[in-house]
């Protein structure tokens, strides 16, 4: 208790330093939690994929459910020989996975990961509760292509280069409709703060209020994540493994892992923007964590839907992807913007 009071006193006296320390601690906790959850996500994907395809998925390592499979994979990848090809652009090659993971982690800082109820008041779990966090997340999502680009460029391999090209072209095409969708949501919620946006969905989800925006954002998000119908950057059958063809060992592990972290964060963003975040009826007995339960249920549904889409759609060609982005999604997202403004004004 004494410690607690000392901390509050310190916080009152030195808010800036207190904020810095708390921010660092929260960031450290966040990074480790995200890594663990992303690892579980890889496992979940392999299991769900197995279920959808009439097979089992990993079930030998670590008990019946194969939960330690990812541990084995990680140990193997981390102790594998680390090859840097002779013709590679060494500095860029070394920095690419780091940049990829760092840009991903930047998103995590601004995303609320649910909320808890203390004294009848919702306290969102967010490291940096910025006023413009929606725009910030959207901006940092567009940095994702740079890590992939660096990896593809530096590998000195024409297939990697093609993967990098495709990644950048795709990113340019889809960043615009995605941004317009985020702005439409912000117009309806009268705020760019993700917590405020979630609060604005107390009565009606934005997925219902603007279904067009939800669909467009979902498609653009899958594209940004580079998942199945849009995984041209690492199309195994066309360009070997795309931008990470030449990567081995721990560097490949980072790139591989980064995709799943992005998938997790992207799904969280979708839940926050369109599916009402942690809003839901309060469950009486465990009211303390009832928002968390709602949040994770929605998140799980989105993740499983992403995996489902992955196993059931063939891949687009890259020119069809950019066509879809520029010619269909962009006009439709503008239509959705007008709709959002009109509805927002009507109900305001």
């Amino acid at each position: 208790m004494e410690l607690l009071s000392a901390i509050t006193e310190f916080a009152a006296r030195e808010p800036k330093i207190y904020g810095l320390i708390i921010g660092l601690v929260a960031a450290a906790i966040l990074a480790s939690v995200i890594n663990v959850v992303a690892m579980l996500l890889v496992w979940l994907e392999r299991k769900v994929m197995g279920d959808l395809q009439a097979r089992y998925g990993p079930n030998r390592v670590g008990g019946r459910w194969g939960v330690l499979q990812l541990g084995a994979d990680a140990i193997k990848l981390f102790t594998k020989e680390d090859i840097i090809p002779r013709g590679a652009d060494k500095s860029v090659y070394v920095w690419a996975p780091i940049v990829a993971v760092a840009t991903t982690m930047l998103i995590a800082g601004a995303l609320p990961f649910g909320a808890v109820i203390i004294d009848g008041r919702e306290v969102p779990l967010v490291v940096a509760n910025m006023d413009i966090s929606a725009l910030y997340v959207e901006a940092v999502l567009s940095l994702m292509a740079i890590g992939a680009f660096m990896a593809g460029y530096s590998s000195n391999n024409k297939y990697s280069m093609l993967g990098a090209f495709r990644g950048v072209a795709r990113m340019i095409a889809y960043e615009v409709p995605m941004g317009v969708c985020v702005i439409s949501v912000a117009v309806m919620a009268h705020s760019l703060n993700l917590v405020e946006i979630v609060n604005a969905q107390q009565n009606i989800w934005f997925a219902v209020a603007q279904p067009l925006g939800f669909v467009i954002f979902g498609i653009a998000l899958i594209t940004d994540l580079g998942r199945m119908p849009f995984d041209q950057t690492e199309a195994e059958e066309e360009i070997i493994a795309g931008y990470n063809t030449e990567y081995s060992g721990i560097r490949f592990g980072l790139l591989y892992f980064q995709e799943y972290i992005v998938m997790l964060l992207g799904s969280i963003l979708l839940v926050l923007l369109f599916l009402g975040g942690w809003k839901g009826p309060v469950i009486p007995v465990i009211s303390f964590i009832s928002p968390m339960i709602w949040f994770f249920m929605k998140l799980l549904i989105v993740l499983v839907a992403l995996i489902w889409i992955r196993v059931s759609l063939p891949r687009f060609r890259i020119d069809q992807v950019t066509d879809l982005g520029w010619k269909i999604l962009l006009p439709l997202s503008l239509v959705n913007f007008v709709w959002a403004v009109a509805v927002g004004l009507y109900f305001a």
């Binding site: 994929m49 959808l52 395809q53 009439a54 097979r55 093609l162 199945m228 119908p229 995984d231 041209q232 199309a235 195994e236 059958e237 066309e238 360009i239 992955r310 196993v311 059931s312 759609l313 063939p314 891949r315 687009f316 060609r317 890259i318 020119d319 069809q320």
Partner: protein
């Protein structure tokens, strides 16, 4: 070789040969389509895995007759090695019913999948004249509006007694090639059902075949409709127990000849759609 020896295998043996051949045509087409799906989608694309499941059932039928899954050295000079096992008819009919329904499902799936159609329609169009010039045969040729099937052109075994259609498509693009293959699965099911109805009882080996075969000097050429197209065998004998020359003409070599004109100036993503829809088995070219 039998043509060289002048042996006619008994009727039952011929029917068994037709049944196994059509069954392996079904499994080959299923595998070819499945492999092609991994190329335009990815290795985790579910229909690919479902097709492999169906193929396993068909393979079980083949295995119950021949004892091997893929390389069944089953045909003997003048007949076949084994008779059909007990309960083969029921098992095969069940499997065929399942395969036919599943294949119809796949066709429906591909028709309704707009991504698939965008990827496949009008890609790698092979005109009939061009296809004939390049020596392509089998499903890719039939997809180019040319009803050319060895079972009809030069009926071997007892195919002239059986009722079946030669599947053709007008478009000649990748989508047509895959559709021809799926339709042929259904047609093969029909052929096998007829065979199972008509099959007579009797011996499975011709009489009087010597242990050591010494054919008269001469040559023989025999062509059959393989899963992938026209397959020709040439044997030349000089009267001893070893042939002077054996030459097999596989269909896939011609597919690869057809690829360069098709692949000129297309996207990399289309390369897999075109080459995959040919169902080219690379190791067949190698010999």
């Amino acid at each position: 070789m039998e043509r060289l020896l002048g042996i006619e295998p008994p009727e039952r043996a011929q029917y068994i040969r037709i049944i196994t051949q059509e069954l392996s045509r079904i499994q080959s087409h299923l595998l070819g389509t499945a492999e092609f799906l991994t190329l335009i989608a990815s290795a985790v694309y579910s229909p690919f895995l479902y097709m492999i499941i169906d193929r396993e059932d068909v393979l079980t039928c083949i295995e119950s007759v021949t004892g091997a899954r893929i390389n069944h050295s089953f045909v003997r000079f003048g007949g076949v090695r084994n008779d059909l096992p007990d309960g083969f008819k029921d098992m095969t009919l069940d499997t065929l019913k399942m395969v036919r329904e599943k294949t119809k499902d796949y066709k429906e799936l591909f028709l309704s999948d707009s991504i698939y159609r965008r990827r496949m329609e009008g890609i790698g169009v092979l005109s009939p004249a061009e296809a004939k010039r390049l020596g392509v045969s089998g499903p890719p040729l039939r997809a180019s509006d040319t009803p050319y099937d060895m079972r009809r052109e030069d009926p071997y075994l007892l195919y002239k007694d059986l009722d079946f259609d030669v599947i053709t498509r007008k478009e000649g693009d990748s989508k047509a090639r895959v559709e021809v293959r799926l339709d042929e699965i259904i047609e093969s099911c029909y052929i096998i059902e007829q065979c199972l109805d008509q099959i007579p009882s009797g011996p499975i080996m011709a009489e009087g075949i010597p242990k050591k075969i010494k054919p008269e000097p001469g040559e023989a050429y025999y062509r059959v409709e393989d899963h992938r197209g026209e397959m020709g065998f040439f044997v030349a004998s000089d009267g001893t127990d070893k042939p002077v020359k054996v030459k097999a003409r596989g269909p896939v070599y011609a597919y690869f000849q057809a690829l360069p004109p098709l692949l000129e100036g297309v996207y990399i993503a289309d390369v897999v759609a075109i080459a995959g829809s040919m169902d080219a088995c690379t190791s067949e070219v190698d010999r």
